[in-house]
């Protein structure tokens, strides 16, 4: 198949960016989107040009590195996929494909399509953990039975890969889906309960500090999330945030 790529190029965080056009021919349908980008970069290098910078690593949809905004959608067309799991068969012959980086004030562009998502790390550092040391002498793993339903629900929240698609797709650049997924995972499990009040307050404070926007319940994040994280997590976080603020000392 033949396609035309329009790709965002930006030299650095403070440079002006622009779209650049690259026609591509003989693209195989079985290629992944990133393999198509590899082929383009190979060509650019051979022609003496700088390749397009983008983040990627595992290429199996789990590390959360890849982050392309394709034709106006985070991770492109299709549901429950990351950019690396997107294949060219999802596009039509002759199509023009627009590729942009995640756009959010909290995710500054490093170069071309690569952005800085360290704000997410700082939110986790503010409280996204259980305060247990690695002593090795915690109680036996089966000492507290956890109802399967709770464990499964916690797992569903825990599958977040921290890619930032929710932020990129939200018109407010809100990070509520990301934050609420971690808050939910830990507050659904007995191990996370002792700290749940402080956790939600600290994580939400950090989220605001990083410059993410507020949630206006459009639900776009849930649609674009490659792991299908549900916005019921946001509802749970709102509930917990409110009750923690009302009852904390």
């Amino acid at each position: 198949m033949n396609i035309t790529l329009k790709v965002w190029r930006q030299k650095g965080p403070n440079s002006l960016g622009k779209m650049e056009t690259h026609p591509m021919s003989n693209v195989s349908e079985d290629m992944s989107f990133l393999e198509m980008m590899d082929v383009l970069n190979d060509k650019l290098i051979r022609e003496g040009n700088e390749p397009i910078a983008f983040d990627h690593d595992c290429r199996e949809g789990i590390c959360g590195s890849c982050s392309m905004f394709i034709n106006g959608e985070a991770h492109g067309p299709g549901r429950n996929v990351t950019t690396c799991q997107l294949h060219m068969r999802s596009f039509k012959d002759g199509e023009t494909i627009h590729v942009e980086p995640w756009r959010s004030a909290a995710f500054p562009v490093i170069k071309d399509l690569a952005v800085d998502r360290s704000a997410f790390d700082r939110i986790i550092q503010s409280g996204g953990y259980v305060s247990v040391n690695t002593s090795g002498s915690t109680q036996d793993a089966n000492a507290i039975p956890i109802p399967k339903h709770d464990a499964d629900e916690a797992f569903d929240s825990a599958t977040c890969i921290g890619c930032g698609a929710c932020v990129a797709t939200c018109k407010n650049s809100s990070a509520m889906l990301f934050v609420s997924a971690k808050v939910s995972q830990l507050s659904l499990l007995p191990q996370g309960k002792p700290e749940k009040k402080e956790r939600v307050i600290r994580m939400v404070d950090q989220m605001d500090l990083e410059g993410f926007g507020n949630c206006t319940n459009t639900g776009a994040c849930e649609v674009e999330c490659p792991k299908g994280i549900s916005i019921t997590n946001i509802a749970r976080m709102n509930r917990e945030f409110l009750s923690s603020n009302l009852t904390s000392k």
């Binding site: 650095g12 195989s28 079985d30 290629m31 992944s32 990133l34 393999e35 082929v39 190979d42 650019l44 290098i45 051979r46 040009n49 700088e50 390749p51 983040d55 690593d57 595992c58 290429r59 199996e60 949809g61 590390c63 959360g64 996929v81 799991q85 294949h87 490093i110 170069k111 690569a114 800085d116 998502r117 360290s118 997410f120 790390d121 550092q125 996204g128 953990y129 259980v130 305060s131 247990v132 040391n133 690695t134 090795g136 915690t138 109680q139 793993a141 089966n142 039975p145 956890i146 109802p147 399967k148 464990a151 916690a154 797992f155 825990a158 890969i161 995972q185 830990l186 499990l189 191990q191």
Partner: protein, 665 residues
């Protein structure tokens, strides 16, 4: 010369006794000691978090944009632990025995026993951190089986166990970062080890965003930098996984052990085209329920390849379930090396089922019916039709492996609920790595290696669900003790200045290497060389090896390396975000490592585990070990170029296990 420092005494008491005997550093003094941990996978995150909790000042580096993205995240199936929750006869000894046997008797008894011993604690620790393992309806933890064992000891979180464990370790690490006990440097890559008076005292690192070269000093350095399967270009490793930190350590004096021991995983999605950048694993857990087969008759193979027949049209009699045929006792759950070779054997004989002839079927139809029948009975439906049973069965399989089936469909555009999956072996893990003693210290004092980066626990073949176990065991429970023993001598050393001439010299060398690459007036992109290296390795140092091919490979790699430095083209500058330069540095190291792997394979005139030398096999094609002459760990000392490396041998002493021909029949 090589002292493995294995403690004396009975096997079961060694670790407890050792912990009692070693020196400790008092809490106040820990604050005076700096440790650098390179890599943030399971071993690195857990080590950095644990050392910081103890009170050391930790500096942690990862090349990814966040520590949570290290490739441990991609592990699917599970983590082993000798909990015996299933009451099926598991024990520390049995996990130890299975691991040594699975490794084809090329691992150290004492290390493996310690691993089995701390395995149960890992599960306790992870549950306490909020890792959402799979549970039964009674609220207790669920288990599944993995290859090479006869018990159910694998804990899992659907097909994303690695992710959940890594996020657990990452959360522990994040907690220490928030307390200021860990200084986390994302998008940083280690370029070299700095030695002062023979001891590792720091590293030279490169900031991958700005290209800046930085000096970092410490009293000890821990490498948790993973494996080097990417030397094959196509592997299940992440694109960035590399050998560079370990290789630079090797060039600074750390011996490299069992370099050629590579695990080829039997169940991966086959290669689809020349543009392919990586291979995707289908978890070994699928072999719990999937049956592997190829057609019995070559006519059916041809018809299937030409699209004239579909696999589902073949009757049971027309299928060759070759693993069940050859290994009735373990069937589809033989260890990975055995399963991979068996697939290769069938495909080499012409029975491969896709266009390239390099694929076999992994079929769930019997599992659909088996689960469907149980499900129907549980629901009280006694006269369910075949179609209803099939539908219920598919739903059960979906709940167990749903995400893996989705992933398969996404990549291949085929629906594995309706047609069998096609799979083929792919490079997955490297058992070889930096040689370490019982304390996980390399031959350079103060330089430690943990997780896949070291060689210590898996011998010549790793059992499924044991990599996660080893990474966390090393980081949470072994290193925090053993590093203290070493550091107890350093309480009076004080801060180490990065102005020392050793740092200046190391930095100068790194800068000149980078300058040489970036200023090279070449015309060929890095990936081109990497692909060619991968092909040489796969064809000549892959699933089976022989003397002639290995010798050819050595020569070809030497030539390729020369061509690389003459013709590689790297765009952009070294003072910028430049992924091509990052890659070039890594590929340069792979081009040396590849030759060393061939040399190691050539030096081992026997077959064991994943190392299969065609000259050494039994009549029915199984690996033929030579315990008399090769019951050792090969440990290579760098003497300049790879071909000058000097071989040292650590004899493996088996006091508790009788050496036997490994049999899964």
């Amino acid at each position: 010369m090589l002292d493995s420092k294995i403690p004396k005494g009975p096997l079961a008491d060694k670790w407890s006794k050792h912990k009692n005997d070693i020196n400790l550093v008092n809490p106040a003094n820990k604050r005076l000691i700096d440790v650098i941990v390179v890599g943030t996978g399971l071993a690195g995150s857990s080590a950095a978090a644990s050392l910081a909790e103890l009170g050391y000042n930790v500096k942690s580096l990862c090349f990814q944009d966040s520590p949570r993205r290290a490739h441990s995240i991609a592990a699917q199936g599970g983590i082993n632990a000798a909990k015996n929750y299933q009451n099926d006869g598991d024990s520390v000894y049995r996990l130890f025995y299975d691991t040594v046997k699975g490794g084809d008797y090329r691992s150290r008894e004492a290390n493996v026993y310690r691993l089995a011993e701390v395995s149960a604690n890992i599960i306790d620790q992870c549950v306490a951190q909020g890792v959402p393992f799979a549970r039964e309806y009674d609220g207790l933890l669920d288990n599944r089986s993995f290859g090479g064992v006869l018990v159910s000891r694998t804990f899992y979180a659907k097909g994303q166990t690695g992710q959940q464990l890594l996020l657990g370790a990452y959360s522990a690490l994040s907690r220490q970062i928030s307390k200021g006990k860990v200084n986390m440097l994302n998008r940083h890559e280690m370029m070299d080890i700095v030695k002062i008076d023979g001891k590792a005292r720091g590293i030279i690192a490169r900031n991958l965003i700005t290209g800046e070269i930085e000096r970092h000093s410490a009293h000890a350095v821990v490498l948790c930098t993973g494996g080097y399967g990417n030397v094959f270009y196509l592997s299940t490793n992440a694109m960035g996984s590399n050998v560079s930190a370990a290789w630079r350590a090797h060039k600074k004096g750390s011996f490299f052990a069992n370099t050629s021991f590579t695990q080829i995983h039997p169940t991966c999605i086959p290669v689809s085209g020349h543009y392919q950048s990586k291979l995707t694993l289908m978890s070994e857990s699928l072999r719990n329920d999937g049956r592997i087969w190829v057609p019995k008759n070559i006519e059916d193979v041809i018809a299937i390849r030409e699209g004239k027949k579909r696999p589902t049209e073949l009757s049971e009699e027309e299928r060759d379930y070759y693993l069940e045929r050859r290994y009735p006792a373990f069937g589809n759950l033989v260890p990975r090396d055995v399963a991979s070779r068996a697939a290769k054997e069938r495909c080499d004989a012409g029975f491969g089922v896709n266009k390239t002839g390099q694929a076999v079927y992994l079929d769930f139809s019997s599992a659909f019916f088996r689960y469907g029948k149980t499900e129907a009975l549980t629901r009280g439906i006694k006269d369910a039709s075949q179609a209803e049973i099939l539908e219920m069965g598919r739903a059960v399989v979906k709940s167990k492996y749903g995400n893996l089936f989705d992933m398969y469909k996404q990549i291949t555009a085929e629906n594995p609920y309706e047609t069998p999956m096609m799979i083929y072996p792919a490079v997955h893990y490297t058992m070889g790595g930096l040689w370490v003693d019982y304390n996980l210290m390399t031959t350079v004092p103060g330089l430690f290696a943990a997780g896949e980066a070291n060689f210590s626990d898996h011998g010549a073949n790793r059992l499924g669900a044991s990599a996660l176990m080893q990474g966390l065991a090393d980081g949470y429970f072994v290193l925090p003790y053993t590093i203290g023993d070493y550091l107890s001598d350093d309480i009076r050393t004080g801060e180490i200045s990065t102005d020392r001439p050793e740092f200046v010299e190391a930095e100068k060398n790194v800068k000149s290497q980078i300058a040489a690459l970036i200023n090279n007036k070449g015309d060929v992109p890095v990936d081109d060389f990497h692909r060619r290296l991968g092909l040489i390795m796969w064809n000549k140092c892959g699933m089976s090896r022989n003397e002639k091919a290995l010798k050819e490979a050595i020569k070809e790699i030497q030539e390729l390396r020369q061509e690389f430095y003459a013709r590689v083209s790297i765009p952009g500058s070294s003072n910028d975000f430049n992924p091509e330069l990052d890659k070039a540095m890594r590929v340069g190291d792979f081009l040396e490592l590849g030759e060393s792997m061939c040399l190691d394979a050539l030096a081992r005139d026997e077959s064991c585990g994943g190392h299969f030398r065609e000259e050494f096999q039994t009549e029915d094609g199984e690996a033929l070990r030579d315990d008399l002459n090769y019951k050792f760990v090969s440990a290579w000392e760098c003497k300049g170029v790879p071909s000058d490396a000097k071989l040292h041998k650590e004899d493996l002493v088996y006091e508790n296990i009788e050496l036997k021909q490994r049999s899964y029949k």
